[in-house]
């Protein structure tokens, strides 16, 4: 039964066309290169270069106090990985000059009566100046500065500064406890930025490269004029389309496995949910990319036009996907748009499955959305392609 089916298949027109496409692809060295080079290059560049962590902030110091206490504070500030001393400044003006020139990012000013105030048990204030041009780094450095001061305070208390304050406190009110926060980081305890980036870039890479390769392959027949020969062949339009899409799909799936392998080995991303959801979502992404590429190709007369059209589609699709930055950081009016973006759904699936270990029971809405998007794109492209053939 199966053998009969296979025999029927291998003799069919589809398989003949399929083999023709495979041969064509195999002889096109540039295509083979474009299947391996971009994923490797993009993953390494994005994964290594895009990191939002804030470390070694260049900190300029104005120490007007010049005491053991102030030097202690500076030591506490710079012994962490967050701040790095960029030298002492003699006046606040010099410090602000250096910040506006951009040679340092942050400055700290310790007032003259710093040590005296501490010894007398009077609260004192240390001023931090932060260049907030980069909003994200500023928010994080602000957190660091506060944390360092907190730990310095804790140290002062343990050194016996505390009794002075406690006495003062007892005068006006009974002592009360403080609320303290104990954060725990789930799913990515090492806070590795690359885990977020690579899982997002995977979808981006699958869709973009699939659409470029597909539009190139589809527009080629038209450019070379060989589409006439296809039209003259006895094969029906469905057969032509299936035979065109299938080899591309196989090749691009191969690219997907290279990318997944890289994510696993180079970046050490865990696969808590197993390989299946990622591969399934990835296959849908490849099909969606082929759909986009084919549709674009039917609107263009040459490879150059197809690529140009890509410039209209790709940047908005990438920027509104949440692949490189959290969706919550987008403005409210743009957030609903991610629902129609396949890269977004794959990002949720990849992160959910790889990092959180979620299964189909929580990821099914994204799988459903991704399937619908893929189906719509593929039918659009098949419809356009068929119109063109007839």
């Amino acid at each position: 039964m199966i053998r009969q089916l296979l025999k029927k298949l291998s003799g069919s027109r589809v398989s003949a066309l399929f083999r023709k496409e495979l041969h064509q692809i195999r002889r096109d060295r540039r295509l083979a290169m474009s299947l391996i080079v971009p994923p490797v290059l993009q993953l390494t560049l994005f994964g290594f270069a895009l990191s939002a962590k804030v470390e070694n902030i260049q900190l300029g110091v104005v120490d007007e106090s010049q005491t053991k206490e102030s030097r202690d504070l500076i030591a506490v500030l710079t012994e962490s990985k967050s701040f790095e001393s960029a030298g002492y400044f003699f006046s606040v003006e010099r410090l602000t000059d250096a910040i506006s020139k951009g040679s340092i990012v942050a400055g700290v000013v310790i007032p003259q009566d710093f040590a005296r105030d501490i010894q007398r048990g009077r609260p004192t204030t240390v001023q931090f100046l932060l260049n907030a041009t980069n909003a994200n780094s500023a928010a994080i450095s602000q957190g660091y500065a506060e944390a360092v001061i907190r730990s310095y305070n804790a140290r002062l208390r343990s050194e016996g500064i505390q009794p002075v304050f406690r006495r003062m406190a007892e005068v006006d009110q009974g002592p009360g406890g403080q609320v303290t926060l104990h954060p725990a980081f789930l799913y990515n305890p090492g806070l590795k930025d690359s885990w977020f980036i690579t899982t997002g870039v995977l979808g981006l890479l699958l869709i973009l490269n699939s659409s470029i390769v597909a539009s190139g392959a589809m527009v080629k027949e038209r450019e070379a004029g060989t589409i006439e020969q296809l039209l003259m062949s006895p094969a029906g339009t469905t057969e032509i389309i299936v035979a065109k899409i299938l080899p591309l799909f196989l090749l691009l799936s191969f690219m997907m496995f290279i990318a997944i392998f890289m994510i696993k080995t180079v970046f050490g991303v865990p696969f808590h949910g197993g390989l299946l959801p990622v591969v399934g979502g990835g296959a849908l992404c490849v099909l969606a990319g082929i759909g986009i590429g084919t549709a674009v190709a039917t609107f263009s007369k040459s490879a150059q036009q197809a690529l140009l059209t890509g410039f209209f589609i790709n940047p908005p699709m990438v920027s509104l996907s949440g692949a490189l930055n959290p969706v919550e950081a987008m403005p409210k009016w743009l957030q609903p748009l991610v629902v129609i973006n396949p890269i977004h759904h794959f990002g949720v699936i990849a992160r959910g499955s790889m990092l959180k270990g979620s299964g189909l029971d929580t990821l099914w809405p994204n799988f459903l959305a991704l399937s619908i998007i893929t189906l719509v794109l593929l039918s659009l492209s098949v419809w356009r392609f068929r119109n063109q053939l007839s």
Partner: protein, 368 residues
């Protein structure tokens, strides 16, 4: 001079007559700036958070109210019969705050009372921000509810300069402005140059009396006009939608913009002169203009975070210097003393690109 201008006019006429390139030249940069400038941001607001209040006392409710009134975190309801951590795996919340039993009793006794926050760290940067905000909220809460308690001896007064409301639009808007200028003018220039070769119209140039340098400069000038036009249109958007103003002396910005227009137009012309296949030239520009300028110029993430093994590359990325000049002009206002050498480097890189294009074409002959 007359020949250069004639060449420039011919180039500009060609652009205006092709609707696809015209759209690409004028509309697309605007769309890109509008979408990307608004959408690329790392500072989250309104992050959903689930609270599990095991104490259910006046004190714990007061703490929850402190979280509720913040702009960054939003308390969402979660059925009590479900594990709160499930809210993280189903993406309904990004953090869980757990207030232990005896929370109020401990506080009243004067014992420090810990609360736990479980943060979804799949996005490490957001996780860091969330804990930072939560710490700030709790510190403020402690000050309000417990003014008589042990005051910390040292307090930090943090001043945020140049961008006090930490608006990411003001940081990314200028960045995307630079990105758009780094993609579209060189793309058009490369296409125009490759087209001449592809369609063999370059032969007409070879037999005319125009020298290679004037021919190339005429082309570069045309795309400088395009780049400056794009810059002007996008500036309007920066001033209105992004609410940016010049922070200081605008002359460094103006000079750098003209030099950068020259730099990107020369880059495109160079690529087009080297690669005569239009599709391949386009991909080369996309790689150089988009991938490198996007990733290695400090556009989204700081350059210092790039590992040293590839960080040196960013010294050669022309967009990097221009981004620094633009951000200085709009946010810091350091003026000439801060950016003079960056402006110079932009010009030097532009001259190098132009020279490379000239080397490729100076013999005015078809490649054999």
């Amino acid at each position: 001079m007359r020949r250069i201008i004639a060449q420039t006019r011919k180039e500009l006429t060609q652009i205006v007559r092709d609707w696809r390139t015209l759209l690409l030249a004028i509309i697309l940069p605007l769309i890109l700036l509008m979408l990307l400038g608004n959408a690329i941001s790392l500072s989250v607001t309104d992050m959903p958070m689930v609270v599990q209040d095991l104490d259910d006392s006046p004190s714990s409710r007061q703490l929850i109210d402190a979280f509720r009134s913040s702009l960054t975190l939003r308390v969402v309801t979660w059925p009590t019969d479900k594990q709160p951590v499930e809210a993280l795996s189903t993406n309904t919340a990004r953090a869980v705050l757990i207030i232990p039993t005896h929370f109020e009793r401990d506080l009243k006794r004067g014992v420090d009372s810990p609360v736990q926050m479980i943060v979804d760290a799949a996005d490490a940067n957001t996780a860091r921000l969330t804990t930072g905000y939560a710490n700030q909220i709790i510190a403020a809460h402690n000050r309000v509810t417990n003014p008589g308690a042990i005051q910390p001896p040292v307090r930090a007064a943090i001043r945020l300069w140049y961008n006090p409301d930490r608006s990411s639009k003001k940081f990314y808007g200028p960045g995307i402005f630079v990105l758009a200028l780094s993609i579209f003018p060189p793309l058009l220039a490369a296409l125009a140059m490759a087209k001449e070769e592809d369609q063999k119209t370059i032969l007409q140039v070879f037999v005319s009396n125009i020298p290679a340098s004037e021919f190339l400069f005429g082309k570069v000038l045309a795309f400088m006009v395009v780049a400056l036009g794009e810059a002007a249109v996008m500036m309007v958007l920066l001033f209105t939608m992004f609410d940016l103003r010049f922070a200081g002396d605008p002359t460094p910005f103006l000079v750098a913009t003209i030099l950068y227009a020259f730099c990107v137009a020369s880059f495109g012309t160079m690529v087009g002169a080297t690669i005569s296949n239009q599709a391949a030239a386009m991909q080369a520009v996309a790689l150089g203009g988009f991938l490198f300028v996007f990733l290695l110029s400090g556009l989204i993430y700081p350059i210092e975070n790039i590992p040293a093994s590839i960080r040196w590359l960013s010294n050669f990325i022309w967009g990097r210097y221009y981004i620094e000049v633009v951000r200085d002009a709009f946010l810091q206002g350091g003026g000439w003393p801060a950016v003079w050498y960056k402006t110079l480097i932009i010009g030097v890189i532009g001259v190098v690109f132009f020279f490379l294009a000239w080397v490729n074409k100076h013999r005015m002959q078809l490649k054999s």
